[in-house]
């Protein structure tokens, strides 16, 4: 009976495999292993999808927790968490309302009562959304106090303000979806203000509500805005935002 191949033989065979080599780029730590040398530290950053976000080296002062408080990164992390929990919730939710067919509300009840981890995931989605508005806001304040919007970062500040607005829109469009008293009346208050837009006020409100008052059309409209349209636009602006951080010389400062 042939003896079993040794562990190092298996490792060698796997790492010399055509498929393995096609997945991990030359120089990847999964090709030749990792030793804690300057070269391998650089390669670890370079042969990683995170190279889109981070260069090989960063300014030392930027590591200090009290410089950024990680606010931008945490905002993005919350965006990712909200995407994941949001996709989970989408499996169990129908954006339908109207007399006798209050599916949206029924689905919300089922998510909380019957779906495994449904209540927990819904809670995470809700608190995460509030938290994200908060971290994005604090991120903006942090950037302002560090003067990090100054040349060459002016445009990225503008992108950031757009992202702040998009964050508010994401949160606000999601607010309606539970279709309970809190949701509908909070959105009523919010959209009434938009009705006072000069000249086009009525039209703006009509387009947003899909009618003169909040109804089933509004729910469907805001659902699509919430799960597709606004996230799509947000991801585009996020990409520009992150790209410009690197192009504009990484983190600002030191002061």
């Amino acid at each position: 009976m042939p003896s079993l191949p040794s562990w190092s033989d298996v490792q060698k065979n796997v790492q010399d495999n055509v498929i393995w080599k096609s997945i991990f780029r030359p120089g990847s730590i999964y090709r030749k292993g990792y030793r804690d040398t300057s070269r391998d530290r650089a390669l670890a950053a370079m042969n990683n999808v995170l190279y889109h976000l981070h260069p090989v080296k960063v300014k030392r002062h930027g590591l200090k927790l009290t410089y950024t408080y990680c606010l931008g990164g945490l905002s993005f992390f919350l965006f990712v968490v909200l995407t994941i929990t949001g996709i989970f919730l989408m499996f169990f939710y129908t954006p339908a309302a109207g007399a006798g067919t209050e599916l949206a509300y029924q689905d919300m009840r089922n998510i909380q009562a019957s779906v495994n981890f449904g209540l927990l995931v819904r809670n995470m989605h809700r608190w995460g959304a509030h938290l994200m508005v908060f971290t994005v806001f604090l991120h903006m304040a942090r950037v302002f106090y560090h003067g990090a919007y100054k040349p060459p970062r002016e445009f990225n500040w503008v992108v950031g303000v757009i992202l702040l607005t998009l964050t508010l829109l994401l949160s606000f469009t999601g607010y309606l979806l539970p279709w309970d008293q809190l949701a509908v009346w909070a959105v009523t208050v919010g959209t009434e203000m938009m009705g006072y837009t000069p000249v086009f006020g009525r039209q703006v409100q009509f387009v947003l509500l899909g009618g003169a008052v909040i109804g089933p059309n509004t729910l469907l409209r805001w659902y699509v805005l919430h799960v597709l349209f606004v996230p799509f636009v947000t991801v585009i602006f996020l990409a520009v935002h992150f790209w410009r951080i690197r192009k504009d010389g990484g983190i600002s400062g030191p002061l």
Partner: protein, 276 residues
């Protein structure tokens, strides 16, 4: 080096032709230098092909190789594809390092007092600014990525734990005929709703947030102060703090100090009218 006088005639002519002041000044100075050289009987300007060849032959004869007189012939012979022979290259290196044993530097006449030659005047904007300052940097992996990962875990833990213990709000089925009292917008719009108490809805709901967002976005262009140091931007910090505090006060007022009919209440007397 002493300042070279400008050739006023050349300068005036260039200025009249619309050349920039800086370029005109430089060219006028160059004209003076040329005039001085001509007066001293020196050669100026691009040399003829003949003269260049002679110079090259002279140069090669002087330090063309290590083997004395016999190498001169081989050195002068054109190397294929115009490359220098190793001896020539060594000689040039030696010459550029000033190890010429009294032989003249390349391009500088042997009787010249000067050791430098003006090659060209280039405006600063024409030179690529390479600001490769030495900075205190660390590797992204492990230093930054570990910090990020810990922050991510901490935030994830906070979110998970609070979601386990605190249930998100869920009220009765929406009823268009039953207006809750008070009806409040989401918390981040409560500052605006508070403004509604003082202004016409168009002002509170559209004009103020519109102008606010415009000013916020334009801040990067309005603020011409190049310094990012806190001590140099006291006004900017004060203005931002003022608006942030003002906004926070409005949001808190709308959230906790407004009750039925959106009238003023004291939360410790009348209770909370606030839902997330």
């Amino acid at each position: 080096m002493a300042e070279v006088e400008m050739d006023q005639g050349v300068y005036d002519k260039l200025i009249a032709a619309g050349t920039s002041e800086r370029i005109a000044r430089a060219k006028a100075k160059a004209a003076t230098v040329r005039a001085e050289k001509v007066a001293a009987g020196q050669e100026i300007g691009p040399k003829s092909a003949e003269a260049t060849k002679e110079k090259l032959a002279e140069f090669r004869a002087n330090f063309g190789g290590g083997g004395g007189g016999t190498t001169t012939a081989t050195a002068v012979k054109e190397a294929p594809s115009g490359r220098l022979t190793p001896e020539e290259r060594a000689a040039r290196v030696a010459a550029s390092l000033g190890q010429t044993n009294g032989a003249p530097s390349i391009g500088v006449p042997s009787d010249s007092k000067h050791t430098h030659r003006l090659l060209a005047l280039v405006p600063p904007s024409g030179i690529q600014q390479v600001s490769d300052k030495q900075q205190d940097k660390v590797y992204t992996w492990p230093h930054l990525l570990i910090v990020e990962f810990v922050a991510l875990l901490a935030m994830g833990a906070v979110l998970l734990v609070s979601s386990y213990f605190l249930d998100a709000t869920f009220r009765d089925l929406a009823n268009p005929n039953l207006t809750p009292n008070p009806s409040k917008a989401p918390w981040y719009f409560l500052g605006l709703q508070e403004l509604l108490r003082y202004f016409h809805p168009m002002v509170a709901g559209v004009t103020i947030p519109g102008i606010g967002l415009f000013i916020l976005g334009g801040t990067a262009y309005f603020d011409k102060n190049p310094s990012a140091k806190p001590e140099n931007r006291k006004f900017a910090s004060m203005a931002m703090t003022f608006f942030l505090v003002l906004w926070t006060v409005f949001v808190l007022a709308g959230s906790f100090f407004r009750g039925p009919g959106f009238n003023w209440v004291w939360p410790w007397v009348d209770g909370l009218f606030f839902e997330l």
